[in-house]
Symmetry: D2
Subunit: 144 residues, 4 copies
């Protein structure tokens, strides 16, 4: 399994992990405002028991967007592998359909540790959830 | 869509939402130590690009376990619907296969707000991730 | 003890609580970019055992800035009293002297719950710490 | 300024930093249930504008308790200096007087990173606030 993902010509990543295939999100390494993006077209597989987008799926999208932003900040060429140390989620509004887009941005850090924040919005720009995460650069796949 | 989930005779819940079907976790409303549980048998659909369980999937399991613990604390009979206000995740260790079990416990709260913490462990009892969440009781499905 | 603080002519608040007197911060209800501000001139009383600004003091400044931003968003005239439900802190850089300024901004919420984020910077604009908080409007001083 | 604090015969630490002198808390390196403790006798200097213990002061006590628990876990003899990477606070109940005690416990980590959780309780054992923090071992006082 490659540590650096297969990057398509337009800077998006698909089919890069089992989780990505399961949920169906698309990674965008070149969003308009910098950082990294992750979008998803909502459907029944993403809903909770109340018929709304599951908060855990929101966490996946924001973890991915913030994690790739961290990865790019460490090494834009090789997409340095990172581990999520912590992730804090705020669930601001609910959403039931349409496309949602997470954007992650790096706010600081050093050689090994990276701080990032992210926002998940619907197509109208409404804030659905926000996240703040700490990521750690790793040299290789850690032992399980 | 029923707000109260279909509960089987042995206190476990399956097929209760699109998200649950997508990920494949099972909810346990009567874990040995109280609170609420959520377990998952890991497979390729739950892995990240490094071949380890995706942190976002961990967030789903802990959100579900803590959320059902909150729901039970508000009303054990009807499983009062709740929204996640915030969820903080700590990723303590990685895991690549086997069964993982999340247990959520309520630590406090009032009429509308509930505080819960949760732990995700593998079958050897090793701590994989921990969570702290705030949940809000809602009367009905909120407008999207 | 008044629930609404004594506001000076220029929109700053001092001597409003025992904690404020102990730490010595000044609240600014009209910062340039909106929200609410809280600044402090650092000295020996704010240092940890390593001679750097204590992370807990950073938490106080960001809790105050985000809390007043929430309070203003509920009712700008009476400064509606609020309780902090949760606060997540990221410690991005260290600082040992000079003035630090926390700015809190509201990102969403409803009738009772308010989400806010905040940033603490030094006089050069360097990010020292960031915060994400959930606040709850209360009608009066809660029973202890 | 010594990186290792002056430890008294009974395992408590006082007068170890400007912040500690300002707030007046006492550090206990040998609490009954393990980890590290930090207690404070509440007075007017610790109150917010509603006459209740300020959430930021709670953050200080829990940051100290969790940080010393992390420090002890790295090196019990030299009390290895650590930095707080992130701290998540849950404010479960309010308190206005008496003694409050924070206990921090380590839940996991590696060579450099340590995860800890903490609880703040009053003398009746009531949970006032809980915390989850990430700490990083440092070799020396970082450059400011």
């Amino acid at each position: 399994m490659p540590l650096a993902p297969p990057e398509s010509e337009n800077g998006t990543i698909q089919d890069n992990s089992g989780c990505q295939n399961t949920i169906g999100y698309v990674i965008d390494l070149n969003p308009a405002d910098g950082g990294a993006g992750c979008w998803l077209d909502l459907g029944a597989p993403h809903m909770n028991r109340n018929g709304l987008m599951h908060g855990g799926i929101m966490a996946i999208l924001l973890d991915v967007a913030c994690g790739y932003a961290a990865s790019l900040s460490f090494d834009v060429k090789t997409l340095a592998p990172v581990l999520t140390v912590s992730l804090n989620m705020h669930y601001v509004a609910s959403v039931a359909d349409g496309r949602v887009l997470a954007i992650g941005q790096v706010t600081g850090g050093g050689r090994k540790i990276c701080y990032a924040t992210g926002e998940l919005r619907d197509t109208k720009g409404r804030l659905i959830a926000s996240a703040a995460g700490v990521f750690k650069r790793i040299n290789q796949r850690p032992a399980s």
